[in-house]
Amino acid sequence: MTRGVRWSALGVGLVFGFLLTASGLGDYDTIHDGLLLQDPYIFLMMGSAMAVAFAGLALLRRRGRTRFAGRLSLPRQRIERRHVYGGAIFGLGFGVGATCPGMTVAMTATGGLYGLVVLVGLLGGLWLRGRVEQRQRQPLSTEPETSAATRVAVGS
Protein backbone atom coordinates (compact mmCIF):
# COMPACT_ATOMS: atom_id res chain seq x y z
CA MET A 1 0.00 0.00 0.00
CA THR A 2 1.54 3.30 -1.03
CA ARG A 3 1.67 6.23 1.31
CA GLY A 4 -0.92 8.14 -0.68
CA VAL A 5 -3.40 5.28 -0.47
CA ARG A 6 -2.85 4.81 3.24
CA TRP A 7 -3.28 8.50 4.06
CA SER A 8 -6.36 8.72 1.86
CA ALA A 9 -8.06 5.80 3.61
CA LEU A 10 -7.02 7.26 6.96
CA GLY A 11 -8.30 10.77 6.27
CA VAL A 12 -11.59 9.78 4.67
CA GLY A 13 -12.23 7.14 7.36
CA LEU A 14 -11.67 9.67 10.14
CA VAL A 15 -14.02 12.26 8.66
CA PHE A 16 -16.64 9.64 7.80
CA GLY A 17 -16.61 8.19 11.32
CA PHE A 18 -16.76 11.66 12.83
CA LEU A 19 -19.80 12.63 10.75
CA LEU A 20 -21.66 9.37 11.44
CA THR A 21 -21.24 9.94 15.15
CA ALA A 22 -21.80 13.70 15.29
CA SER A 23 -25.04 13.31 13.34
CA GLY A 24 -26.42 10.98 15.99
CA LEU A 25 -26.71 7.97 13.67
CA GLY A 26 -25.32 5.81 16.46
CA ASP A 27 -28.52 6.37 18.44
CA TYR A 28 -31.32 3.86 18.15
CA ASP A 29 -33.93 6.60 18.41
CA THR A 30 -32.53 8.69 15.52
CA ILE A 31 -32.77 5.79 13.08
CA HIS A 32 -35.91 4.26 14.54
CA ASP A 33 -37.85 7.54 14.34
CA GLY A 34 -36.63 7.93 10.78
CA LEU A 35 -37.78 4.45 9.77
CA LEU A 36 -41.11 5.16 11.50
CA LEU A 37 -41.35 8.08 9.07
CA GLN A 38 -41.70 10.47 12.01
CA ASP A 39 -38.37 12.29 11.67
CA PRO A 40 -37.03 13.18 8.21
CA TYR A 41 -33.42 13.66 9.41
CA ILE A 42 -31.94 10.41 8.08
CA PHE A 43 -33.64 10.80 4.71
CA LEU A 44 -32.53 14.42 4.36
CA MET A 45 -29.00 13.45 5.33
CA MET A 46 -28.87 10.48 2.99
CA GLY A 47 -30.53 12.43 0.16
CA SER A 48 -28.16 15.38 0.44
CA ALA A 49 -25.18 13.02 0.70
CA MET A 50 -26.27 11.31 -2.51
CA ALA A 51 -26.89 14.60 -4.30
CA VAL A 52 -23.45 15.95 -3.38
CA ALA A 53 -21.76 12.65 -4.25
CA PHE A 54 -23.64 12.52 -7.55
CA ALA A 55 -22.49 16.04 -8.47
CA GLY A 56 -18.95 15.36 -7.30
CA LEU A 57 -18.75 12.16 -9.32
CA ALA A 58 -19.95 14.01 -12.41
CA LEU A 59 -16.92 16.31 -12.07
CA LEU A 60 -14.66 13.36 -11.35
CA ARG A 61 -15.88 11.52 -14.45
CA ARG A 62 -14.87 14.46 -16.60
CA ARG A 63 -11.41 14.33 -15.10
CA GLY A 64 -11.28 10.58 -15.57
CA ARG A 65 -8.26 10.06 -13.34
CA THR A 66 -7.75 9.42 -9.66
CA ARG A 67 -4.98 10.88 -7.55
CA PHE A 68 -3.27 7.66 -6.45
CA ALA A 69 -4.85 4.82 -8.40
CA GLY A 70 -4.73 5.68 -12.07
CA ARG A 71 -7.84 5.76 -14.23
CA LEU A 72 -11.17 6.27 -12.53
CA SER A 73 -13.51 3.29 -12.80
CA LEU A 74 -16.87 3.50 -11.11
CA PRO A 75 -18.94 0.44 -10.16
CA ARG A 76 -21.69 -0.56 -12.55
CA GLN A 77 -23.22 -3.93 -11.99
CA ARG A 78 -26.34 -5.53 -13.30
CA ILE A 79 -29.11 -6.54 -10.98
CA GLU A 80 -29.18 -10.10 -9.67
CA ARG A 81 -31.49 -11.97 -7.33
CA ARG A 82 -28.93 -11.76 -4.53
CA HIS A 83 -29.36 -7.99 -4.38
CA VAL A 84 -33.03 -8.42 -3.49
CA TYR A 85 -32.52 -11.36 -1.10
CA GLY A 86 -29.44 -9.91 0.57
CA GLY A 87 -31.04 -6.47 0.71
CA ALA A 88 -34.16 -7.91 2.35
CA ILE A 89 -32.17 -9.74 5.04
CA PHE A 90 -30.08 -6.64 5.63
CA GLY A 91 -33.31 -4.60 5.86
CA LEU A 92 -34.60 -6.99 8.53
CA GLY A 93 -31.56 -6.28 10.69
CA PHE A 94 -31.70 -2.57 9.86
CA GLY A 95 -35.39 -2.40 10.83
CA VAL A 96 -35.20 -4.34 14.11
CA GLY A 97 -31.85 -2.99 15.30
CA ALA A 98 -32.06 0.50 13.73
CA THR A 99 -28.36 0.27 13.00
CA CYS A 100 -25.95 -0.75 10.24
CA PRO A 101 -22.29 -1.79 10.05
CA GLY A 102 -21.01 1.80 10.27
CA MET A 103 -23.54 3.23 12.72
CA THR A 104 -22.80 0.41 15.17
CA VAL A 105 -19.24 1.70 15.53
CA ALA A 106 -20.61 5.16 16.31
CA MET A 107 -23.02 3.62 18.83
CA THR A 108 -20.25 1.76 20.64
CA ALA A 109 -17.97 4.81 20.71
CA THR A 110 -20.67 6.93 22.37
CA GLY A 111 -21.20 4.43 25.17
CA GLY A 112 -23.83 2.15 23.65
CA LEU A 113 -21.99 -1.01 24.53
CA TYR A 114 -24.78 -3.24 23.23
CA GLY A 115 -23.26 -2.24 19.89
CA LEU A 116 -20.53 -4.76 20.62
CA VAL A 117 -23.14 -7.52 20.60
CA VAL A 118 -24.31 -6.36 17.16
CA LEU A 119 -20.69 -6.31 15.94
CA VAL A 120 -20.11 -9.89 17.09
CA GLY A 121 -23.26 -10.91 15.22
CA LEU A 122 -22.14 -8.91 12.17
CA LEU A 123 -18.83 -10.76 11.92
CA GLY A 124 -20.70 -14.03 12.45
CA GLY A 125 -23.15 -13.19 9.67
CA LEU A 126 -20.38 -12.28 7.22
CA TRP A 127 -18.60 -15.53 8.03
CA LEU A 128 -21.81 -17.56 7.78
CA ARG A 129 -22.53 -16.21 4.29
CA GLY A 130 -18.99 -17.22 3.30
CA ARG A 131 -19.63 -20.75 4.56
CA VAL A 132 -22.82 -20.98 2.53
CA GLU A 133 -20.99 -19.80 -0.59
CA GLN A 134 -18.28 -22.40 -0.06
CA ARG A 135 -20.92 -25.10 0.40
CA GLN A 136 -22.52 -24.07 -2.87
CA ARG A 137 -19.07 -24.15 -4.46
CA GLN A 138 -19.32 -20.51 -5.44
CA PRO A 139 -16.28 -18.27 -5.44
CA LEU A 140 -16.18 -16.42 -2.11
CA SER A 141 -17.57 -12.92 -2.43
CA THR A 142 -15.09 -10.36 -1.20
CA GLU A 143 -17.46 -7.42 -1.55
CA PRO A 144 -17.37 -5.05 -3.23
CA GLU A 145 -16.35 -6.59 -6.49
CA THR A 146 -13.32 -4.65 -7.61
CA SER A 147 -12.21 -6.85 -10.48
CA ALA A 148 -11.91 -5.06 -13.78
CA ALA A 149 -14.74 -7.13 -15.25
CA THR A 150 -17.33 -5.63 -12.93
CA ARG A 151 -16.26 -2.04 -13.30
CA VAL A 152 -16.59 0.35 -16.17
CA ALA A 153 -13.67 2.56 -16.96
CA VAL A 154 -14.93 6.07 -17.43
CA GLY A 155 -14.60 7.38 -20.93
CA SER A 156 -13.82 4.03 -22.50
Binding site: G4, V5, A9, G13, L14, F16, L19, L20, T21, A22, S23, G24, Y28, D29, L35, L36, L37, Y41, L44, S48, A49, M50, V52, A53, G56, L60, R67, A69, L72, L74, P75, R82, V84, Y85, G86, G91, L92, G93, G95, V96, C100, P101, G102, M103, A109, Y114, V118, V120, G121, L122, L123, G124, G125, L126, W127, R129, L140, S141, E143, P144
Partner: protein, 156 residues
Amino acid sequence: MLDLISAQLPWWIAGPGVGLCVVALYGLINARLGVSGAWLATIAPVEGWRPEPWRRTFLLALAGGCVVAALLGPPVRLHGYGRLSEVLPPVALVPVLLLVGVALGYGSRWAGGCTSGHGMSGCAAGSPDSVVTTATFFSVAVLITLGLHALTGGAL
Protein backbone atom coordinates in the same frame (compact mmCIF):
# COMPACT_ATOMS: atom_id res chain seq x y z
CA MET B 1 -17.38 14.79 26.48
CA LEU B 2 -16.04 18.29 25.99
CA ASP B 3 -19.43 19.30 24.69
CA LEU B 4 -17.84 21.35 21.90
CA ILE B 5 -20.28 20.13 19.29
CA SER B 6 -24.02 19.86 19.72
CA ALA B 7 -25.78 16.53 20.09
CA GLN B 8 -26.66 16.37 16.42
CA LEU B 9 -25.07 18.15 13.47
CA PRO B 10 -27.68 19.62 11.12
CA TRP B 11 -28.40 17.31 8.17
CA TRP B 12 -27.21 19.91 5.69
CA ILE B 13 -23.71 19.64 7.15
CA ALA B 14 -23.58 15.90 7.88
CA GLY B 15 -25.15 14.83 4.56
CA PRO B 16 -22.98 16.82 2.16
CA GLY B 17 -19.94 15.99 4.32
CA VAL B 18 -20.59 12.28 3.94
CA GLY B 19 -21.18 12.81 0.21
CA LEU B 20 -17.77 14.44 -0.08
CA CYS B 21 -16.19 11.46 1.69
CA VAL B 22 -17.65 9.21 -1.01
CA VAL B 23 -16.31 11.44 -3.79
CA ALA B 24 -12.92 11.75 -2.09
CA LEU B 25 -12.37 8.00 -1.81
CA TYR B 26 -13.25 7.48 -5.48
CA GLY B 27 -11.14 10.43 -6.56
CA LEU B 28 -8.11 9.58 -4.44
CA ILE B 29 -7.83 5.80 -4.58
CA ASN B 30 -10.57 4.68 -6.97
CA ALA B 31 -12.40 2.85 -4.20
CA ARG B 32 -16.03 2.49 -3.23
CA LEU B 33 -16.50 3.66 0.35
CA GLY B 34 -18.16 0.80 2.23
CA VAL B 35 -18.12 -0.26 5.85
CA SER B 36 -19.32 -3.86 5.50
CA GLY B 37 -16.44 -4.45 3.05
CA ALA B 38 -14.06 -3.13 5.70
CA TRP B 39 -15.50 -5.51 8.31
CA LEU B 40 -15.30 -8.34 5.80
CA ALA B 41 -11.58 -7.64 5.39
CA THR B 42 -11.10 -8.38 9.09
CA ILE B 43 -12.30 -11.98 8.69
CA ALA B 44 -10.36 -12.56 5.46
CA PRO B 45 -7.44 -14.28 7.27
CA VAL B 46 -9.89 -16.84 8.69
CA GLU B 47 -11.11 -17.59 5.16
CA GLY B 48 -7.66 -17.53 3.61
CA TRP B 49 -7.81 -14.63 1.16
CA ARG B 50 -6.07 -11.28 1.06
CA PRO B 51 -8.19 -8.15 1.29
CA GLU B 52 -7.19 -4.84 -0.23
CA PRO B 53 -4.85 -3.33 2.37
CA TRP B 54 -6.58 0.07 2.54
CA ARG B 55 -9.71 -1.50 4.06
CA ARG B 56 -8.15 -2.17 7.45
CA THR B 57 -6.73 1.36 7.59
CA PHE B 58 -10.16 2.71 6.72
CA LEU B 59 -11.89 0.73 9.45
CA LEU B 60 -9.41 1.81 12.12
CA ALA B 61 -9.70 5.42 10.99
CA LEU B 62 -13.50 5.18 11.03
CA ALA B 63 -13.40 3.97 14.63
CA GLY B 64 -10.95 6.77 15.44
CA GLY B 65 -13.28 9.36 13.91
CA CYS B 66 -16.17 8.01 15.95
CA VAL B 67 -14.12 8.30 19.15
CA VAL B 68 -13.04 11.87 18.32
CA ALA B 69 -16.67 12.89 17.76
CA ALA B 70 -17.68 11.17 21.01
CA LEU B 71 -14.96 13.05 22.93
CA LEU B 72 -15.93 16.42 21.45
CA GLY B 73 -19.65 15.83 21.83
CA PRO B 74 -22.03 15.66 24.77
CA PRO B 75 -20.83 13.70 27.82
CA VAL B 76 -20.29 10.03 27.00
CA ARG B 77 -22.19 7.73 29.34
CA LEU B 78 -22.93 4.07 29.17
CA HIS B 79 -26.46 3.59 27.98
CA GLY B 80 -28.83 0.91 26.79
CA TYR B 81 -30.33 0.45 23.36
CA GLY B 82 -32.88 3.27 23.15
CA ARG B 83 -36.50 2.26 23.44
CA LEU B 84 -35.63 -1.31 22.47
CA SER B 85 -33.90 -1.82 25.83
CA GLU B 86 -36.96 -0.42 27.61
CA VAL B 87 -39.20 -2.98 25.95
CA LEU B 88 -36.86 -5.99 26.16
CA PRO B 89 -34.99 -7.15 29.28
CA PRO B 90 -31.25 -7.78 28.71
CA VAL B 91 -31.77 -11.53 28.64
CA ALA B 92 -33.94 -11.12 25.52
CA LEU B 93 -32.16 -8.07 24.11
CA VAL B 94 -28.76 -9.75 23.73
CA PRO B 95 -29.95 -12.64 21.53
CA VAL B 96 -32.11 -10.26 19.48
CA LEU B 97 -29.14 -7.94 18.87
CA LEU B 98 -26.94 -10.88 18.01
CA LEU B 99 -29.46 -11.91 15.36
CA VAL B 100 -29.69 -8.30 14.15
CA GLY B 101 -25.93 -8.40 13.61
CA VAL B 102 -26.10 -11.74 11.82
CA ALA B 103 -28.80 -10.39 9.48
CA LEU B 104 -26.71 -7.28 8.74
CA GLY B 105 -23.59 -9.33 8.04
CA TYR B 106 -25.23 -12.11 6.08
CA GLY B 107 -27.39 -9.74 4.04
CA SER B 108 -24.63 -7.27 3.24
CA ARG B 109 -22.25 -9.97 2.03
CA TRP B 110 -24.97 -11.58 -0.06
CA ALA B 111 -25.96 -8.26 -1.62
CA GLY B 112 -22.37 -7.03 -1.90
CA GLY B 113 -22.64 -3.93 0.28
CA CYS B 114 -24.51 -2.04 2.99
CA THR B 115 -25.86 1.43 3.68
CA SER B 116 -22.56 3.06 2.70
CA GLY B 117 -21.27 0.81 -0.10
CA HIS B 118 -24.55 0.37 -1.92
CA GLY B 119 -26.73 3.03 -0.28
CA MET B 120 -24.47 5.99 -0.88
CA SER B 121 -21.39 5.16 -2.93
CA GLY B 122 -23.03 2.73 -5.35
CA CYS B 123 -26.23 4.73 -5.80
CA ALA B 124 -24.29 7.96 -6.38
CA ALA B 125 -22.30 6.18 -9.10
CA GLY B 126 -25.60 5.07 -10.65
CA SER B 127 -24.92 1.36 -10.35
CA PRO B 128 -28.20 -0.56 -10.90
CA ASP B 129 -27.44 -3.26 -8.30
CA SER B 130 -26.95 -0.58 -5.64
CA VAL B 131 -30.24 1.12 -6.45
CA VAL B 132 -32.13 -2.18 -6.15
CA THR B 133 -30.35 -3.24 -2.94
CA THR B 134 -30.95 0.16 -1.32
CA ALA B 135 -34.62 0.32 -2.32
CA THR B 136 -35.07 -3.22 -0.95
CA PHE B 137 -33.44 -2.72 2.42
CA PHE B 138 -35.05 0.65 3.07
CA SER B 139 -38.51 -0.68 2.17
CA VAL B 140 -38.09 -3.77 4.34
CA ALA B 141 -36.70 -1.73 7.25
CA VAL B 142 -39.59 0.76 7.12
CA LEU B 143 -42.18 -2.05 6.96
CA ILE B 144 -40.54 -3.93 9.86
CA THR B 145 -40.35 -0.75 11.94
CA LEU B 146 -43.98 0.18 11.29
CA GLY B 147 -44.92 -3.44 12.09
CA LEU B 148 -43.03 -3.39 15.39
CA HIS B 149 -44.65 -0.06 16.24
CA ALA B 150 -48.11 -1.53 15.68
CA LEU B 151 -47.35 -4.81 17.46
CA THR B 152 -45.98 -3.14 20.58
CA GLY B 153 -48.84 -0.65 20.78
CA GLY B 154 -46.53 2.26 20.06
CA ALA B 155 -43.87 1.35 22.62
CA LEU B 156 -41.32 0.97 19.82
